[in-house]
């Protein structure tokens, strides 16, 4: 106990703490559970076990079983229940254990989560968040590696957010929970325990719908999100040696897209490489291409290049690295738009 008090005292004296992405998520959840007693966390294994990745570690101990709830194995059931809770005054934050297991809940999302406000002309609205780890590259079993953000950006009525570091994870999670409408919050599991960054221990939020420039450059715009951000960054750093400077943007929100940051960058560089790990056809990259077409077409000096996963089910892990975009593939694409 004394130790705990001491720890708390230390924490409140510090203003930031070094955290991995998953710690940013846990901290964001804890901050919000503390902030508003209508918020609750629910999902499979989120309570006693603290989540299979430990994203909710310690939260049930701290906030109790009513606030951090282990549900039956029933995605349609607990996403549907979250709809009922949200329209009746609670603010549920639901965890889907892996994005590839959201499919049973897709009906609830497509027919109810996204529509309550429209169907009642605003009488009801759903302040709820669905969190899910996603993506390949960690040798997971089948279906655990899907990257299906486009199935949700296509649905009218839900925002889609995807942080790439601990600072953004906490700030965007706070904003998502505070948002009056449903948000799908995608967590790149490949980055969960990667780089640490300084994260304020206090509550703060990052506006949804805003991308961030992570490397400033003049020649080529490189757009990425989630687990592809470090890949894009690495490619850009390599290209520096060839005197090619990249404007690397982490989009952070996939719906609504930050059209301003995209337009501004493309108007400056005139060349674009979009990187995503999801399959190519119908991916968010296609939508970004449309935004560029609308906002910066006449500035383009070369066709837009996309570096994506392929139009195949994400393979079992023996081939997942062949499926995933690599820094080298991104560098080749950058070279291609330069050489055009």
């Amino acid at each position: 106990m004394a130790k705990m008090l001491e720890k708390q005292a230390n924490e409140s004296m510090e203003t930031t703490k070094s955290m991995t992405l998953i710690q940013g998520v846990t901290d964001g959840l804890g901050t919000m559970l503390d902030d508003d007693e209508n918020i609750l966390v629910l999902g499979e294994d989120v309570g006693v076990n603290g989540g299979v990745f430990r994203a909710t570690d310690g939260l049930q101990e701290k906030f109790g079983e009513r606030r951090v709830v282990d549900t039956p194995l029933s995605e349609a059931g607990f996403v549907g229940a979250a709809v009922g809770m949200a329209l009746n005054g609670l603010k549920p934050v639901v965890e889907i254990q892996f994005l590839g297991f959201i499919y049973p809940a897709y009906e609830q999302i497509a027919t109810h989560v996204t529509r309550a406000r429209s169907r009642t002309m605003g009488h009801y609205h759903l302040p709820m968040v669905i969190r899910a780890p996603y993506g390949a590259g960690v040798r997971s079993p089948e279906i655990h590696s899907d990257s299906i953000e486009a199935l949700f950006t296509h649905l009218p009525g839900i925002k889609v957010v995807c942080p790439s570091n601990a600072y953004d994870a906490k700030g965007l999670l706070v904003a998502s929970i505070e948002d009056p409408d449903p948000v799908l919050f995608l967590e790149p599991m490949r980055l969960y325990r990667g780089e640490r960054v300084e994260v304020p221990t206090e509550k703060y939020s990052i506006e949804l719908g805003k991308g961030e420039r992570i490397i400033e450059g003049e020649d080529v715009t490189v757009l990425a999100w989630g687990a592809m951000v470090p890949i894009a960054k690495k490619a850009a750093e390599q290209m520096k040696e060839k005197n090619i400077s990249c404007d690397v943007i982490d989009l952070r929100t996939l719906y609504p897209l930050d059209k301003d940051i995209i337009a501004e960058s493309v108007q400056k560089t005139g060349r674009v490489v979009i990187v995503h790990e999801a399959q190519s056809t119908g991916g968010v990259g296609s939508e970004i291409t449309s935004v560029i077409n609308d906002k910066a077409f006449l500035y383009l000096k070369s066709p837009i290049e996309r570096v994506t996963g392929f139009d195949v089910p994400v393979p079992l892990f023996a081939l997942e690295n062949d499926y995933l975009p690599t820094p080298q593939r991104v560098q080749d694409a950058i070279q291609k738009v330069i050489d055009f």
Binding site: E44, D45, V52, D70, P141, P313, P315, E320, D322, Q328
Partner: protein
């Protein structure tokens, strides 16, 4: 609960006494030992980094062997990720099963002789498949049967209800074989359902439901056998709940001490271990033979060693494979992308 032999290895029910022979007991014992040896090796290979995340089933050997040995050549098996004990017993090739755990899709390709659908990872999705495969057998006029394996947690998913309901309406020749191992990852059965048992859910569908001691290989075997006979005779589906226990972790990526006392589980071994129980039974009934036991142990080790060698010398994965089996004829996007990968700077 249906029981044939008790913890001490004595008959509880004399009903089946005549049907149980030394030969059969030895066969059951052999298969249980075989899959346990495989399972322990699986965990070891994962620790050594020679395969990926592995899903152990220790404790569930009686359930998997007792059920799988009921299937005949043309029957259908729809397993989960935890049922490779059953698939190995039915006839899946051991090196292939290892390949699966090494992230190789070749491991999901069934042997030509056996109808084994790849393990379903999304929970409960395989129940409707078993129903449909069974319906197809009736359309074809055969008397082949399908069996779906699933866990206690799976009963909470919609597909559990939908698969069984359709089967009950069409009286499909399918057996829904539940292994109630007490947990769905960290969630104990009391938090999974308010029902007393899983078997009782059969009542809602108007089909037979049987609750059986899943640590008693004979009880499992005869319960499943009777369900298969009903199915073959056109009497429709059965729901079986085999009450078992998972001794180890949910997967090699799981730490069970976060949610339960593993020492308690180890203490239960004396009482619960299905292999120990069968050994006691065989010793009590003059069916045990030390030489035979040593011999099969060696045989199993040798088979497993060979399978590991086969797995490790298997040809390197070919990236082309991920493009070549999406459609019979690859679409243009797939063709183009295959070329992109081929041409990519290494």
């Amino acid at each position: 609960m249906m029981e044939i032999i008790d913890k001490a290895g004595k008959f509880v029910s004399k009903e089946y006494e005549k049907e149980i022979t030394k030969e059969q007991a030895q066969k059951f014992y052999y298969h249980m030992l075989r899959i346990r040896t495989f399972d322990r090796k699986g965990k070891a290979l994962q620790r050594q980094g020679r395969i990926g995340t592995y899903v152990p089933f220790e404790g569930q050997e009686a359930s998997q062997v007792g059920s799988a040995l009921v299937l005949e050549e043309k029957d259908w098996m729809f397993p989960t990720y935890r049922d490779h004990g059953a698939t190995l017993t039915f006839g899946a090739e051991m090196d292939r099963v290892l390949l699966y755990w090494n992230g190789r899709v070749e491991g999901s390709v069934p042997s030509k002789e056996k109808n084994i659908y790849p393990a379903s990872v999304p929970i409960a999705t395989q129940l409707p498949h078993a129903t449909g495969a069974a319906m197809a057998e009736t359309y074809k006029g055969t008397n082949n049967v399908a069996i779906a394996y699933f866990g206690d947690g799976a009963t909470s998913e919609g597909d559990f209800h939908e698969g069984i309901n359709i089967a009950s309406v069409f009286q499909a020749p399918v057996v829904f074989f539940n292994q109630n191992n007490g947990f769905a990852i960290s969630v104990p059965i009391e938090k999974q359902m308010n029902s007393e048992t899983i078997a009782q859910k059969s009542e809602a569908y108007g089909i037979p439901g049987v609750r059986v001691d899943g640590m008693d290989v004979f009880a499992v075997h005869f319960a499943v056998k009777e369900a298969f006979e009903r199915a073959r005779n056109g009497e429709g589906p059965t729901l079986i709940e085999a009450v078992t226990w998972r001794f180890g972790a949910h997967t090699t990526a799981d730490d069970p001490t976060k949610y339960r006392d593993q020492e308690e589980t180890e203490k239960k071994r004396e009482e619960l271990d299905p292999i120990l129980r069968l050994e006691r039974f065989m010793k009590n009934h003059d069916m045990w033979d030390e030489d035979w036991a040593e011999k099969i142990e060696k045989e199993i080790e040798a088979e497993l060693d060979d399978a590991i060698v086969e797995m490790e010398k298997f040809q390197k994965p070919d990236p082309a494979d991920m493009f070549d089996y999406v459609f019979e004829e690859p679409t243009w996007t797939i063709q183009e992308q295959k070329e992109i990968l081929k041409g990519a700077t290494k």
